[in-house]
Amino acid sequence: MRATVTIRPKSGILDPQGEAVQTSLSSLGYPVTKARVGRIVDLELGADDAAEARSQVERMAEELLANPLIESFEIEIEIEVEHT
């Protein structure tokens, strides 16, 4: 089973990296008014129950992958389809 954790700077939290990216994109001539930079963590899990996997990944995100003070996260669980 695979999980993708998308970590973003919380809305309202200053993101200087995003601001720098926005400025650079604008200087290239793109009409970008805002950019926020986050992080994606792809995980391969041994679990075979999707609900169990999700709750495990939630704990991982809270304990380590994201800092809840400044970051929010979203979890996507992908169940692999068996090919015959």
Binding site: I13, L14, P16, Q17, A20, L64, L65, N67, L69, I70
Partner: protein, 231 residues
């Protein structure tokens, strides 16, 4: 027992300032004891623990986020909870925040640039034990060198910790976007202190300002008190 309290200096993979910290502590009047991040126990008769600056685990994920899981941190937690003095400098401050021993988080500098310069910080009205001999308002000169020193916490937490005297140091001028110019904070009990500037680099007149000496003297005093030895 010797007059020189034993102070453990933890080295993580990627620590840089552990050597300078040991030298500075020796100069100030302590007996530095090197400690490796994988050590599970603190050495005997330790009066304080220091987490030095550097780039533990290459700053992967977030600064200090991986180091907080080091085996030694369990013992550091227990030591801090029992009232033992713990000082975190720069990356050590980041680790203490990530470990939940200090409030807030250190984010990328507002200007997105690494800063390396001498700064002046003021000692605030604080419950930090290590600073109890310093008058609030005392100005200290010492260097900073960091890319992620922009301390932040939310409004509610900020009001609480400011009320409780947990703001330990402020920069006199904005250097990194840090909330309310905060340069260092302590825990509620006052025994755990973290700051971005480097006291260990500011103890010898030959090398610039010497404001670090007063911070480390406070640490040594706190270590002596913790061990119950007279100076």
């Amino acid at each position: 027992m010797s007059l020189r309290p034993r102070i453990a200096v933890v080295t993580f993979p990627g620590s840089l300032d552990d050597g300078d910290m040991r030298l500075a502590l020796e100069l100030i009047g302590a007996e530095p004891v090197p400690l490796w991040h994988a050590d599970e126990r603190l050495p005997d008769e330790i009066g304080a623990v220091v987490l030095p600056g550097g780039f533990s685990h290459g700053d992967y994920l977030r600064c200090g986020a991986l180091a907080k899981l080091a085996p030694v941190m369990r013992s550091v937690h227990a030591f801090a909870t029992a009232g033992g003095p713990v000082l975190g400098v720069c990356n050590g401050f980041q680790i203490l925040c990530e470990a939940g021993l200090l409030p807030g988080v250190l984010r990328a500098n507002r200007q997105l640039e690494y800063v390396c310069c001498d700064v002046t910080i003021s000692v605030e009205e604080t419950v930090a034990t290590m600073l109890s001999d310093l008058e609030p308002g005392t100005a200290l000169g010492l260097p900073i060198k960091h890319g992620e020193g922009n301390w932040y916490t939310d409004d509610e937490t900020f009001a609480e910790i400011a009320d409780r005297g947990q703001i330990a140091f402020r920069y006199l001028a904005d250097v990194n976007g840090s909330r309310d110019l905060v340069a260092g904070v302590c825990n509620e009990a006052g025994n755990v202190l973290g700051l971005m500037p480097h006291p260990e680099h500011a103890v010898d007149r030959l090398l610039g300002p010497v404001g670090g000496a007063q911070v480390l003297e406070g640490l040594v005093t706190a270590a002596r008190d913790h061990l119950g030895v007279a100076a």
